[in-house]
Symmetry: C2
Subunit: 334 residues, 2 copies
């Protein structure tokens, strides 16, 4: 066992020379603020100045209406689409599917406890609109050394919050308001910094068959349990549920294999899916997310990792990335 521990330490030093670790996470563009007050994470978020919030373009939202629940109440789920440079092939397909109203009349077909809710065309026979792209596996992750990126989109979070930034799945950070992981792929001079979004609760991904390029974006799922991080890099993440996930996560679990429903009447019907920008002005959904490169986010991530509010006795001193969900809020029309 001692031998193993020594081997691990040596391997760590070999695999992550300090210069490369530093290269993995560019410095945040804001100075870490002094953490003095024992605020709960929700209090940090409530006190964030307006300048630390970023508007979400309604054109980057999908608004999904399910059939009313047993008590006749409307069920609306709002999904924010993944921004560039991630997964834009599938996102482009999803915009085309929404514009064609393709999802109208499809259904929620699978609810597997502590895993995913999946929706799309249960018959698997509905013709797709023309012009959808076949997107290759290569687009599951982005080569950040080859991409055109602005440093100010990186997160203002101390790498200490994620156990030094490294977890069993790579290096955790945030980019432009989204949880991502990164890893050097290749060795030596050929090493490239690959970055991909991660499977936290509420993230939306593309169902596919065995071949990695078989998912179009018509069949989708969202995470309703502990982050299934083994799916990272194996499937495309294309968005996240920012409102109404309870309408999916509280659906009855399917009793078939993998949580698929065994009869049509169990399936919640998707009455419509629209791009946010297609809605009437009065109904236009307006949201903001907390800039992950702001002092407020730094304070928030610190408060998540070190709970100092009255209930807590022992601050954890760290947090895994999915335990630091990016705050999103609904705002009134201007």
């Amino acid at each position: 066992m001692k031998h193993t521990a020594i081997w691990n330490a040596a391997t760590f030093a070999l695999a992550f020379p300090l210069a490369l670790v530093a290269q993995g996470v560019p410095p945040p563009s804001v100075a870490p603020p002094a953490i003095t007050s024992p605020m709960a994470p929700s209090e940090v978020v409530a006190s964030a100045p307006a300048a630390d919030w970023v508007a979400i373009d309604p054109a980057d939202l999908l608004v999904m209406e399910l059939s009313a629940d047993a008590r006749g109440r409307a069920r609306r789920v709002i999904i924010q689409l993944m921004p560039a440079p991630f997964a834009q092939g599938w996102v482009s397909n999803m915009r085309a599917l929404a514009a064609a109203h393709w999802w109208d009349g499809t259904s929620v077909n699978r609810v597997q406890d502590n895993y995913v809710v999946q929706w799309g065309d249960a018959s698997e026979a509905k013709p797709l609109p023309d012009g959808l792209r076949t997107v290759p596996q290569a687009e599951y992750e982005v080569d950040f050394q080859g991409a055109s990126l602005s440093a100010d989109r990186y997160s203002a979070v101390s790498p200490n919050f994620f156990g030094g930034g490294n977890d069993p799945y790579g290096r955790s950070e945030f980019y432009a308001g989204w949880p991502v992981a990164s890893m050097f792929v290749g060795t030596g001079l050929r090493a490239r910094n690959h970055v991909w979004p991660v499977h936290c609760y509420g993230m939306v991904g593309v169902g596919r068959g065995l071949s990695p390029d078989t998912g179009t974006g018509a069949e989708l799922y969202t995470v309703i349990g502990h982050a299934p991080r083994h799916l990272d890099r194996n499937i495309a993440l294309v968005g996240r549920v920012i409102e109404g996930i309870e309408h999916l996560s509280s659906l009855p679990r399917g009793t078939g294999a993998l949580g698929f429903y065994e009869s049509a009447e169990e399936r919640a019907v998707i009455t419509s899916v629209r791009l946010g920008s297609e809605l009437a002005a009065a109904d236009l959904p307006r949201f903001q997310y907390l800039n992950t490169n702001s002092s407020s986010f730094y304070r928030y991530s610190d408060a998540r990792a070190n709970r100092r509010d009255a209930f807590f006795i022992v601050p954890a001193g760290g947090a895994d990335i999915c335990n630091v969900p990016v705050p999103v809020r609904r705002v009134p029309a201007p």
Copy 2:
């Protein structure tokens, strides 16, 4: 940033001298098996020999019946109580509460999405049975250097599966079939190896007020979302749901603060809670868990960390501890 990275490496070396890291996880008593076949985790579990399964004593189960659902179907939830040396003060209270049929007629009062389902006496006025203990904060974690323990209850899992065993919350491992974390508390010769169960999906904990000794075990919760590991060491974990968690996780979310229901009719009624050993022989629930100190568990944890079944393209090379749920199965009566 380079400066921070260097500081981290130095701090790591100071905080975790190799001898102490090695001391944190005693060697498993089985030799790591060769991993050759590309089996899915479920296939590894299905092929585990009978000798690798451990019977759960029905006396260590709580059987909770909820009122029938909207379609008239029974809803039974089965909870395995935490074994020694963890949290036995609260577990003893829970046995007394079940023996007194105290929970009969109480209700599920809180369902907060991606967090917890909580149940107990909504009126907070029901008299408790005599003889319940007040359990101090000290029992949230166990000093393994002071405890009488058998080495063969440690997990047969490579520490590599958890990113070297260290995550932002301490050191991850399994003990006697349960996910636990550990950390050296104190420094130098006074350092003690503290161990505590962790808040994975389905774990059951004791609701309390602001003072850490205010929870009796009458008010309970279970995790229905991403592991809220910041609760570790701050609240007592006393068991886990091993069957029927979908009856809790699919309940409608409460619309009050913290997910509490705002009206009595929203609450699912708990019609009874019984110790498994109180049930008639024909109804006695019989379960087994996969021995976490077996070759089968080693293979299973490897398969969770390195998915090799046909769907997967890139094995993660690691897993966080809550992504390696301990397999539990129902077995026929002998």
